[in-house]
């Protein structure tokens, strides 16, 4: 199975100067968990997922020690962290070094990449043009398709 058979066309994008608040609003409004970040010329500059934003709301120390997060609960701290983040630009949290795939790449290699690098959204780029994305939803559909194909 190749990427051209499963990728999602017309991906939602966001400007690299957009605020994180705007990104979250877009994710909620479109019911998605990741966006491609582009500059004013439409060139892909990075990817941002819900995980990247969530990671920025949690102190690094809590990520390494969940129990510490539970033990050091301060009312309002989560709100403070979110509010500290909302006006920052998406460029501060996006992944600048990102994996991109082409239409002829195969699904197994891309899935392996997702697992190894903890990816959530991958742009599909051909001839430097953004054609679409592959997210975990596309991987889910590909697995379902693969299972049904075996039964035929």
């Amino acid at each position: 199975m190749l990427i051209k058979e499963i990728y999602k066309k017309n991906p939602k994008t966001v400007s690299s100067s957009a605020t994180i608040e705007e990104v979250i609003d877009s994710l909620i409004k479109n019911d998605i968990n990741g966006l491609i970040v582009v500059n004013d010329n439409g060139v892909v500059k990075g990817v941002v997922s819900l995980q990247d934003i969530a990671a920025a709301t949690i102190p690094r120390q809590f990520k390494n020690n969940i129990r510490m997060a539970a033990a050091m609960y301060k009312k309002g701290f989560f709100t403070e962290m979110c509010q500290g983040l909302m006006h920052k630009t998406v460029a501060t949290v996006m992944r600048k070094e990102f994996v991109a795939v082409g239409l002829e790449d195969n699904i197994m290699a891309v899935t392996a990449d997702f697992l190894k690098n903890d990816l959530y959204i991958v742009p599909v780029i051909e001839d430097k043009k953004l054609l679409g994305v592959v997210t975990r939803t596309e991987i889910k559909h590909a697995i379902a398709y693969g299972m049904r194909s075996m039964h035929k």
Binding site: P59, R60, R67, M68, A71, M72, K74
Partner: protein, 442 residues
């Protein structure tokens, strides 16, 4: 002095200077520099004698110190496993709740927690446990970063001189010289307690303005629940007692020997306890060896034993000792001042491990020449610990704390730090000199 130098002693000195250059400049990793320095000396036949090859004699300096390496490895594994229980974080969080987050009380509590944890678990594991807690507190309670980072770094360094098991260099000195646990605690440890009070008062005064501006509502920490920090109750119930028993055996080993004739040495005790822990808690040895043992420190020590060993083998240590005696006219008070305050300032700017190992050999040489050096052991041990807090790069635990702080965008200006730290190095140095002088030389 120069007339006594042989070609091999000159080579040893040059290699030492090159090693120091790379250690200070941090252009290359420490372990690499130390081991390559050692290997260079062996290959250049510096250690060759009529009876043995260069390698054989050089390796003697490593084999003679195998127990130090064993002790360090054992403690790294033991503390690393017990740490997984979350007990240390629970204690720290409990203390924060106890003092209701009040900035000055918090500073004192965290400082003394660091001191006593270091005394028994050594400073790097202590810092790895406490630095994350402190950094979260700074963020949650909007605390001024520098006072809290400074007190933790200062106490971690001072704590390293408290007991023979609190720092590898203290252990090296105690083992090489034959100082018992109670001797170290009753001399160095007691002075550390005095210095901890001096340092705490200094920090409270120096950062008075910053601490005044910190306003913490007790409600901010009211919902802290230290019990939730416990990650593994089995390790807590079984692993912590294993660690505590090991520490008690190391504390009382001389008494055990006197009472029973059984000799229990630190390396064997910690290796036994740590490998037993690996077995009991079903840890994968490969993961333990990879994740819990800091091999860089181990190889750093191995390399240094050879590099400093070359100074001893080529009689440079004797020359150093003689020079120190000549400069001071053999006056013990002057030697005491030189070693205490000199060690403090030297350790502020250069890695204290090679300096400490070199000076132990030099002081032993002075002893052989008939000088009563007992006070100088405490001067050296304390001087290097005092100096260890003198700059953000003076000790490995400082580098860890400020490295983690940088990741949180807390930047500590090097000069600003020196302006606060250097006066304390001097004050602590003078206090130490005064106490040792009063106790032994008056």
């Amino acid at each position: 002095m120069l007339g006594h130098l042989t070609i091999f002693s000159i080579i040893s000195l040059v290699v030492l200077m090159v090693v120091y250059y790379f250690l200070i400049s941090e252009k290359l990793p420490k372990a690499l520099v130390a081991v390559l320095g050692g290997v260079t000396l062996i290959l250049m036949q510096v250690f060759r004698s009529g009876e043995a090859s260069s390698q054989e004699n050089a390796f003697h300096f490593i084999s003679h110190n195998l127990d130090i390496l064993g002790f360090v490895i054992g403690m790294m594994i033991l503390v690393g496993i017990v740490r997984e229980s979350g007990v240390f974080e629970a204690v720290a969080i409990g203390l924060v709740k106890l003092v209701k987050g009040k900035p000055r009380m918090l500073l004192i509590a965290l400082g003394y927690l660091t001191l006593f944890m270091t005394a028994f678990f050594s400073n790097i594991p202590t810092i790895l446990i406490l630095a994350p807690v402190v950094l979260v507190l700074i963020k949650q309670l909007n605390l001024p970063p520098l006072p809290f980072l400074f007190i933790v770094v200062t106490m971690a360094n001072l704590g390293g001189a408290m007991t023979p098991i609190s720092d590898p260099t203290t252990y090296y000195q105690a083992k090489t010289v034959g100082l018992s646990f109670s001797e170290v605690v009753s001399n160095s440890g007691v002075i550390v307690l005095v210095l901890s009070v001096v340092s705490t008062l200094y920090v409270l005064l120096a950062f008075n303005k910053d601490l005044n501006s910190a306003k913490v509502n007790p409600k901010d920490v009211a919902l802290f629940d230290p019990k939730k920090a416990i990650q593994d109750k089995y390790i807590l119930r079984v692993g912590l007692p294993i660690a505590l028993v090991s520490i008690l055996v190391m504390v009382f080993k001389e008494k055990i020997y006197t009472a029973t004739g059984i000799s229990l040495d630190n390396a064997t005790v910690t290796i036994a306890a740590s490998f037993l822990s690996i077995l009991i808690f079903h840890k994968k040895p490969r993961q333990v060896f990879r994740n819990l043992i800091d091999w860089e420190i181990i190889f750093f020590f191995i390399g240094l034993f050879v590099v400093v060993g070359a100074l001893e083998f080529t009689n440079l240590i004797s020359l150093l000792a003689k020079s120190l005696v000549d400069v001071t006219g053999g006056n013990l008070k002057m030697l005491l001042g030189l070693v205490t305050i000199g060690s403090g300032f030297i350790s502020t700017f250069i890695d204290n491990v090679p300096y400490n190992i070199t000076m132990v050999s030099a002081i032993q040489e002075m002893q052989r020449s008939g000088i009563w050096v007992y006070p100088l052991w405490w001067a050296l041990n304390l001087g290097t610990s005092i100096g260890g807090a003198g700059s953000p790069i003076a000790a490995a635990c400082n580098v860890i704390v400020f490295g983690q702080a940088e990741k949180e965008k807390i930047h500590v200006n090097f000069l600003k730090y020196l302006m606060v730290a250097l006066p304390l190095v001097l004050i602590n140095g003078l206090v130490t000199f005064g106490i040792i002088w009063l106790k032994f030389l008056r």
